[in-house]
Subunit: 232 residues, 4 copies
């Protein structure tokens, strides 16, 4: 496929995935954003800033270079991209294995973030999906580079595809935009469940070697493996 | 535009915005209300009292003067306006910069209100949107003027567009009705998140100067700026 | 209207109102039930037992006499009525002013009920709607008469249209079925809000005379008054 | 009916029932699974692994033998069955009275499971449906047989149709798939309600003999009894 066809496809996927943030209650009003890297090009597609979720469509997604600047002349280029675009761009520049990024203010994840507390791995679904606890990143909301740098420093070499930026909220990464959205959905699910669990009393730890085995198994055997899924 | 055309437009906007209160779970049964000022006229449009959200339409919105009296002869004038109309009118009379007002009994905001406790600013989204803590207004539900007076006394000169009236619930204001509804949605979101955060342990404060910088940035650069948005 | 026309109308209203229980999350699976008295006749209409909410329709509502027995030969009479029919019948026999009854296992109301704890009146919406705290009724689930008797003993002469039957759940009453459903919706709303409020710290009481004034005002002036509303 | 017709019917029922898991908020992303035994055959029908709930249809349900192996050549046999298939198969082999099985990570049930704490029977709906507390099964997520064995050891001879597998989540069983889904829905409902109840203070026990009488009554008299229901 040529680059234009790939951009068209990523626009459709990224636009549609924003609907999943709404479906799972991860966002309010115009908050939150999804981006997806254009395979083989130094480009990514991201949500416009401050637009209602009802009005999002492939044609108003914004195409940016890895410097975070809007690509002039493409559809949507009359819009400002998400105010978190610089953070997305930083991650794409420094983590070439990342193909999709999601940011939300989902309430239970933000609650842990506002205490600066990592989420302990006490449920097997969390071991499957994240391979251990969800780490906390720095309070870093001053300049544009600082958020991206905090994400990369926390997640590079870490099993978790999710980071809780202190007092701010979660960012998740994935091999593509769908994978990053899945991580955002599962993160809020475990943030909520572990919160509820702890409110009721003492949670039981899962032994480290069992966490390792769960993670290995899930990463290798779960799901249907076909080309369509790898793409989307 | 002449006044009649503006009234027609505000009726449509205010009617539609009530759907956002339902969508975000801020209201139960016939509770809650949105109003919008008619630009350039001493009039505002408000929800009728005790009517099901399913039955709200532009034609049954009620037009009132700034004294809170229904304008005779206009569509909807056979209906009683919201039982909170006097409070809305008071705010429009005393705060000319306010173009929209929302009142709900959204559960987490009411929970803080029933303790008479302001919501501390411990998440960056709250700094962005409200510029600091959400203040508490007086227990003032006796006469008609007292609620409006309590709102104005609390919010005048305050960064926050939201006030928690003690034992009662939130009122939010905005430059127009959409902006006030956004404030109501974001208020419940932060009321819930900070509640959950504190249930789990000690929350981390955000330094005051960082709150200031976040608020300045968000008020000035966020979102798409065009005339359609300023209107709605 | 003759009795048959009234029965047809009450069937429609009662069938439709079950949709409100679903909309507000008050019921799970086939739990919960609404009934409505047929004006001027010793009859009431109630939900069939164990039927999915998706399948409820005016034609499968069951018509019963005030002894709780199904009226033979009417549509739906091949169905068993709700397993709570005896309790509804008892209330209709002993409280002639009651025109509608609702029973649910809505989660926050059941939580208070399982502690046998009345809900304190700390929010003004509760003063408006219920005129004070929500009382607790006895643990009474053995014979058929005992639940109905517990409801009547608790609510007769009480301002509240809602009772929390201990370890069981809420019953609400009203001048008609719509009014009883409104009470069920508002009850769960205040049960949830006061629970959340108390989890966060000490709630502030509302002075008794203010509760009285709020209740008087709301019962007399709120809403649109027309015949259609009185009927439904 | 011949076996092919029965398989077709179970495919339809099992596919449709997955929609109930979504409706009641018991699952996130592609998690959770329902299976149903094919009456009179050593076969069961189960969800494919890692497929979106939006895309589930009778034709992509997977037919397995009681050894957990996919039946070659049938529709859906090009898909991997749910990663929990071995556990379902083990239960069908060892509990011939079981006609349906459900597994979810519903949040309140998982919260109790992560503390390894049984849910006490303090609400009458729980006595009706489960006849007592919901038991906890072992932390057993290593080999394929261990989960199934833990379910069978915990539920065999127990009134409860639900087990909380420690640090993992609930499995429910039933006389057919619909019955098992009902148990999953009611389990999350009581897990949530009892959690909320206990957060607010001390819950009141229900005397053991009353639990017994409630359970007996509900199992014998509740609902409409007809062949259609027994089948589905």
């Amino acid at each position: 496929m040529d680059v234009e066809a790939l951009i068209t496809e990523v626009r459709q996927v990224v636009s549609r995935l924003h609907g999943e943030l709404v479906r799972y209650g991860l966002v309010a009003w115009t908050g939150g954003n999804v981006s997806g890297r254009v395979p083989g090009a130094d480009l990514f597609v991201i949500k416009p800033s401050g637009v209602s979720y009802d009005d999002l469509a492939p044609g108003n997604m914004v195409v940016c270079g890895l410097d975070g600047k809007v690509v002039a002349g493409s559809p949507g280029s009359d819009r400002s991209p998400s105010s978190d675009t610089a953070a997305h761009a930083y991650v794409y520049r420094h983590m070439p294995e990342v193909g999709g990024i999601v940011h939300t203010h989902s309430p239970y994840a933000v609650a842990w973030a506002s205490r600066g507390e990592e989420i302990p791995c006490v449920i097997t679904a969390m071991a499957d999906e994240f391979g251990g606890p969800i780490p906390v990143g720095p309070l870093a909301v001053i300049g544009d580079e600082s958020i991206g740098r905090g994400i990369v420093q926390t997640l590079r070499g870490h099993r978790s595809r999710a980071v809780l930026m202190q007092n701010h909220g979660p960012f998740t990464i994935g091999v593509n935009a769908t994978d990053a959205v899945k991580a955002a959905v599962m993160l809020e699910d475990v943030a909520r469940t572990v919160h509820i669990a702890r409110q009721g009393g003492k949670v039981l730890p899962i032994p480290r070697d069992l966490i390792d085995r769960l993670y290995e198994r899930y990463q290798n055997v779960y799901g249907q493996i076909d080309e369509a899924q790898r793409m989307s």
